[in-house]
Symmetry: C2
Subunit: 321 residues, 2 copies
Amino acid sequence: MSKNILVTGTSVRADLLQPLIDAGYSIDNPTHLLTETELKEALKSSVAYLLGGDEYATKLALSSARDLKVVAFLGMGYESFVDAQAARELGILVTNTPGTLSNAVAELTIGLVLCSTRKLYLYASNWAGGRSGGEDKQRDLAALHVGIVGLGGVGIRIAEILRGGFGCKVSYYSRSRKRPLEDKLGIEYLDLAGLASQVEVMIIMTPSNAETKGLIGESQISAFRPGTILVNTARPDIVDPLALLKGIETNRIEYAAFDDFYEEPKDAVAKLKALVPSKLMVTPHIGSLTHQARDGMARKAIASILNILSTGTDPNVVNGQ
Amino acid sequence: MSKNILVTGTSVRADLLQPLIDAGYSIDNPTHLLTETELKEALKSSVAYLLGGDEYATKLALSSARDLKVVAFLGMGYESFVDAQAARELGILVTNTPGTLSNAVAELTIGLVLCSTRKLYLYASNWAGGRSGGEDKQRDLAALHVGIVGLGGVGIRIAEILRGGFGCKVSYYSRSRKRPLEDKLGIEYLDLAGLASQVEVMIIMTPSNAETKGLIGESQISAFRPGTILVNTARPDIVDPLALLKGIETNRIEYAAFDDFYEEPKDAVAKLKALVPSKLMVTPHIGSLTHQARDGMARKAIASILNILSTGTDPNVVNGQ
């Protein structure tokens, strides 16, 4: 039996790998982006694979890995990085790292909310360009009604910061109502139509899948109160790009902030980019890019590897029976 | 006795003036910037003066105001807008509006902290310019030790948001130690040298006067931990500009965010401006520029006017015996 563990990518600090070495495993950490052939070759002699790079582990790459027990994905959205169904058929468990990025993404979200309520990027850009003066009166977040779409780990942390820190009124929508959290956090449930038509700040924090793509579209945005702020730190495509453009042009949306953005449709994207920084700001998918989040992910992935190698199972398996 | 009240500037909403009208007074609200002569003329026939414009009420302008009982300044820093000593000698009370802007300035401060921990302005600018990729790992605010210089109304509100929302460790320095607030807020006192050398985020929120000018200078900044974040939402001159420049150049300061900036010295200011947005961002003195803060100021100033006209006194008099 091999004692080799493949670690890809550059984001796992060497000292965090020590528990694997202490357990008698050796580490192979190529840092370049592996081709399918290179990945297949490296996995042939590995018992575990900490997937921290940008490669995609295909069925073919996994197919010769006779000793491989686990693909531990560093993050949440493993679907874009490993063929989990093929892994399952080959008897290989896939894990991810829930909970480790909630605080980092929540803090980015609050930052983008304040950038929107106070137009920080716009006014800082104007200052840098010598165009200050005549700024609009802005709004205290404490006085606004905030809505959160999606009440998973990140949504909960956003609600904690808004309620415990800023003291604003918070409502949420999620597919399944979460009554115990409502009292604990001091928030109320609204259906999506109610949330869209009542809140002054709309935060999108729901997983991206076939069901949520375009969840916030023309019918929601046309019901927004004039001057609503829209912050999307989930995947861009949960908000329909044409509806976003129309919402800004008709002033239903006063300011929008996204962490990552659409590539398509080109024409709408070009029109939206022209609204930066006066009506829109975009950060380049940095939600979980903090030392604390990344180290937390690595620790959790490594714990899953050790669990599976010693007991055959782990709470974070995503492709089990 | 005159029943006229002079209101200057454009920021007081007409409906907020209704209590004065209900009490039998008439309002004169010129909206242009008054000359000293115009102001003197207008004050001759006024019993109260709500100072919301950019004029300076000199001794001369006040000297013919036989019926004037109160100059109610809209904001905190009345010294730059009215000769309060001359007013006192003429038997005219001057008031200001403490407490009304604390939340607005605190929220701006937290916004600038998050812009600094997550480099939001830098990365949003890079995205807009097509220069995204290779972003640095950032830091969770929850994991940082934050220091606040100055624990007045704004400093207290900043501490509440940081402790109640983000849960980070907070220390403070102020001229007089405030033990009852330490337990209430969950913060600890450090002397200025201790604060400068221990914290990872330094927030400046202390009044500007001869005593605090340059309070944060070379000796404090050279003691900063490498990579400290500096956020100044008080007056710029509390931080020495040359020490700021050196602190950034030597990486004692990883990122600095100011609300308003220096005019002098020209050479240092030019060098600092060249560090925008990679190491520095500046907003154009928008700390209290929210509807909630401005309306709160107007309500407080109007209450002071009614108090003084009916009882001869008010808690917010700043030039009393």
